[in-house]
Symmetry: C2
Subunit: 216 residues, 2 copies
Amino acid sequence: MSKKEISKAVINRLPRYYRYLGDLLEKDVVRISSKELSEKMKVTASQIRQDLNNFGGFGQQGYGYNVEYLHSEIGKILGLDRKYKVIIIGAGNLGQALANYTDFARRGFQIVAIFDIDPKIIGTKIRDIEVQPLEQMEEYIKDNDIDIAALTVPKTSAPLLAADLVSWGIKGIWNFAPTDLHLPSDVTVENVHLAESLMKLSYRLSVKENLKKKEG
Amino acid sequence: MSKKEISKAVINRLPRYYRYLGDLLEKDVVRISSKELSEKMKVTASQIRQDLNNFGGFGQQGYGYNVEYLHSEIGKILGLDRKYKVIIIGAGNLGQALANYTDFARRGFQIVAIFDIDPKIIGTKIRDIEVQPLEQMEEYIKDNDIDIAALTVPKTSAPLLAADLVSWGIKGIWNFAPTDLHLPSDVTVENVHLAESLMKLSYRLSVKENLKKKEG
């Protein structure tokens, strides 16, 4: 199974397949045709077949997909067949929201530590995890083999913090700060830019409004 | 200025241009060449020229872009030249995080109300906004001409809630629930699926790890 030539568009769709298959599993669905899956997901059946063929297929013509098998195989492709140790930097509302998502742990992302600079927050607990001062982070990371750091800090502190994290061995950064991080190529950065998501919403709203005005 | 044929990829890049130009404005930069902008943004200068040509150009060859003008024009394209009334449904950590982003208000997205079903949260205040019971939402929406509803509720309640919102006149939904909402075509849904973002991160981490194993 070669992962090298998979297009970004396919990769972007895989987590959605994984989510839908997970929902089907929860409902004890054993088998599903690409037609049924297509109706649920609002993508064409041929798109689904094409996407999954990238990874060897998983289905037999006319027989459909085994939900549990497909779910587990896509999980492996997504790297979900192992555990990830995650720390959260910034224990504000967003950091707390991430720490409280039990879904992440279920998928193998274990939140093991939370750091902040605010003395009022340091020492408080979020789901049994005590918020530690930022000064202890370097030692903690070096001692604990951390895979991913979620960065929920202001944009002004994010770039320097990220550079520190990388120098301490972190290879994955989940960045919520509204700034781009330029890091070495062996580091993976996944950005969640909330303001940009909101602007895409306002763009599409205003396009629809303008169309409506034109139509009368 | 026709917005109809603009590709999704260009639209996805516009908020990023807007953010970079906003940062330059804050630093009192008056003018920037596509080359400088390209170095900052890590995209090619020809990509930038091509993207902006979709909207009529904004720049003169060899003379660069007027930062303030370009920022304001892209803002108009993104629909940021008007105000949006936003309500938040679900006053958990994520809803509170959204309510606390002062950046949104600065860009014209005014959080005007927050709703929840939890009696312990109802009546409390988040940035001077009192959390209201869900039962008051219908009347509030009908009386207050709301543009956008941010949905930070569990995936089980999101689809029905969204259908209600649409029937009460909401045209824009910013959906944080880990489920897809299938709504009429005159409604705009922008999804923020955090778990999927995390899976994209683990995918890329595991691809890099596998490559390293092969090479090493």
